[in-house]
């Protein structure tokens, strides 16, 4: 039985060297080049692999972002997704994980009503906010089960999925009733580059754009108005004091001086 998979991706700056606007104390991202969040490539690849594994399945890529975020939808279609949906509008600006996950859950509900969704895939974390929480928050809004840090989908059918979760001390195996949300980690696959056929499809793809009203949400529930947190002030991390250079004529002498310092500072 075929599956409908949704994969959530974010358009983020390609570099983590982001300046702070001294006037507002906010990170200054306007004009920075953007691309698909690196970890989301693994989620896209997994959606495509599931399509290959379960014939007749389809994958829809979903993002909440600016109009320019359509680029990451096209990128995911080039890599093998079938369709894309852009959730966008001025009301979504300035959202945090709380507001963004609500918008994602409302869009997933709408997709689910059109064609039942079995699995929603997420990346490990974004390279801008980097909290690694939006997938599970989305699951919570939907009241669906979830698994984070998934490194393998062992088995899947339309009613359940068995997944491996990478914990700090080993691997958990869990069975989730579907529909469910799964946040992936890098070990899950090796992403492939877009194919020529995929690139053609991505150029032609028509991407519906949904606003808060289309999702049945009030503008106050999304974006900065719906956010439960706000950056008060961003800054560069405190600079480190100048270091000590360990000098010596021989390696043994340097080793002795280094070990002296480690003991003096009670580091060992």
């Amino acid at each position: 039985m075929a599956l409908h998979i949704v994969v959530c991706v974010k358009s983020t700056p390609t570099s983590v060297n982001v300046p702070v606007d001294p006037a507002t104390g906010q990170p200054k991202t306007a004009g920075l080049p953007t691309a698909i969040n690196p970890y989301d490539e693994y989620a896209v690849e997994e959606a495509v692999r599931l399509k290959e594994r379960v014939p007749g399945s389809s994958a829809t890529v979903l993002t909440v972002g600016a109009d320019s975020a359509a680029d990451v939808l096209r990128e995911a279609i080039a890599r093998g997704c079938d369709a894309g949906v852009l959730v966008s509008g001025p009301e979504f600006e300035g959202g945090d994980s709380f507001a963004t996950s609500l918008a994602l859950s409302a869009a997933i509900k709408k997709l689910h009503a059109e064609k039942p969704v079995h699995l929603v895939l997420f990346g490990k974390n974004t390279n801008d906010v980097g909290a690694g929480v939006v997938g599970v928050q989305t699951a919570a809004w939907l009241d669906w089960p979830s698994a984070t840090a998934v490194k393998k989908i062992e088995a899947i059918d339309p009613s359940s999925a068995t997944v491996q979760r990478a914990m700090e001390d080993g691997t958990d195996v869990l069975k989730l009733a579907l529909p469910a949300c799964v946040a992936t980690v890098k070990e899950i696959n090796e992403p492939r580059l877009p194919s020529l056929k995929g690139k053609m499809a991505s150029k032609k793809a028509v991407l519906p754009k949904w606003t808060a009203a289309d999702l049945g949400l009030q503008p106050a529930q999304v974006g900065a108005a719906g956010a439960a947190t706000a950056i008060a002030k961003a800054a560069l991390p405190p600079s480190r004091p100048a270091g000590v250079k360990v000098e010596g004529a021989t390696s043994a002498e340097k080793a002795k001086k280094l070990v002296d310092i480690l003991f003096e500072r009670k580091l060992i």
Binding site: P27, Q137, D169, K186, A228, I231, A232, K254, L258, V259
Partner: protein, 328 residues
């Protein structure tokens, strides 16, 4: 009723509490004293009683003990329901969790269930309630305002001291729990086969990079790590070369660590590597190139050939301590 009080959520993993739990208790204690609010902990486990007794001796005012067969293995939805029940009933204002896989997932669910603002990887909590957390892989640190009456926070590991057991014993309140129909079934756990120290909670990490020249080179890293009681990390160059498994990778696309001592051997210190370790306490760099970024930013830099320096350091440490390795 206005929300008040601080709740530490203690998730048992394989029947024990991860050491990060005690860091939550000490951070919670400091906050509770500053705000003049009570500090409670909730233990979620299939065998909660012993763990509750442990927490009760570490400076909390009250321990809620939720013991239920469904809390044996970590299921994100079931654990969140159990924690949310306690948080709601008592109207806690700040919920503290560990920034590990379980704590992060649980925090995410709790934030939605409690309609609460969420901040992860928090390294500092100010008395006015604002918290510091990293953005852009640690290139920026922001002070974040939580706009909701309830705040859910996961605390960065190694950012707060670990609460020690004391003579005072807090009251333990058993709490009944009805998980309802389970949508997540925990089936098995396969432990990591090696008995290496986990990087995330290690006080000391020794990392190796391309300068090691091959998988053989990592033997020297393991020897030094063993002598120092440290976990082993690596740069992406070393991982990509197949010298050591990916789980050891430190950096933007690896893990973030914050040990008291980080020793980088044969690692140049590209920004993607620094993203995973720059908030470590003391950074020691060992490198032939005194001008590389890691040597420039290190607290202690040793210029020289690692092939000579590493054995010399191991020997010196052993000489000073007797042959016994240091406990992690």
């Amino acid at each position: 009723m206005a929300n008040s009080g601080i709740l530490v959520v203690a998730v048992s993993q394989r029947g024990a509490l991860p050491p990060a739990t005690y860091e939550l208790v000490s951070a919670g204690r400091k906050l509770a004293d500053a705000l003049k609010q009570p500090l409670a902990a909730v233990v979620l486990s299939d065998k909660a009683s012993a763990l509750a007794a442990d927490l009760a001796s570490r400076g909390v005012d009250k321990v809620y003990s939720v013991e239920h067969a469904s809390l044996a293995g970590f299921a994100e939805d079931t654990f969140a329901k159990a924690a949310a029940d306690v948080a709601r009933k008592e109207g806690f204002a700040k919920i503290l969790l560990a920034s590990n896989v379980a704590g992060r997932a649980l925090a995410a669910r709790l934030a939605v269930l409690l309609k609460a603002g969420l901040a992860t990887d928090v390294s500092e909590i100010a008395d006015d309630g604002k918290v510091s957390r990293p953005y852009y892989a640690g290139n920026l640190v922001a002070s974040v305002e939580i706009k909701t009456p309830v705040a859910v926070l996961t605390l960065a590991p190694m950012s707060f001291p670990r609460a020690e057991p004391g003579a005072a014993k807090a009251e333990i309140v058993p709490v009944a729990f009805d998980p309802g129909a389970a949508k997540t079934t925990f089936s098995t756990y396969q432990p990591e086969t090696s008995n290496e120290i986990d990087m995330g909670s290690a006080e000391r990490v020794v990392s190796g990079g391309r300068g090691l020249g091959g998988a053989e080179g990592f033997k020297k890293i393991f020897e030094l790590a063993h002598a120092l009681g440290a976990a082993v990390g690596a740069s992406r160059a070393a991982v990509d070369s197949g010298w050591i498994p990916y789980k050891h990778q430190v950096g933007l696309t690896g893990r973030s660590v914050r040990p008291k001592l980080y020793v980088a051997v044969g690692i140049s210190g590209q920004i993607q590597h620094l993203a995973g370790m720059s908030s470590s306490g003391t950074i020691v760099a060992i490198n032939t190139d005194k001008d590389c970024p890691l040597m420039q930013m290190a607290n202690v830099s040793v210029q020289g050939d690692l092939n000579e320096l590493l054995p010399a350091i191991v020997e010196e440490v052993k000489r000073r301590r007797g042959a016994a390795p240091i406990a992690a």
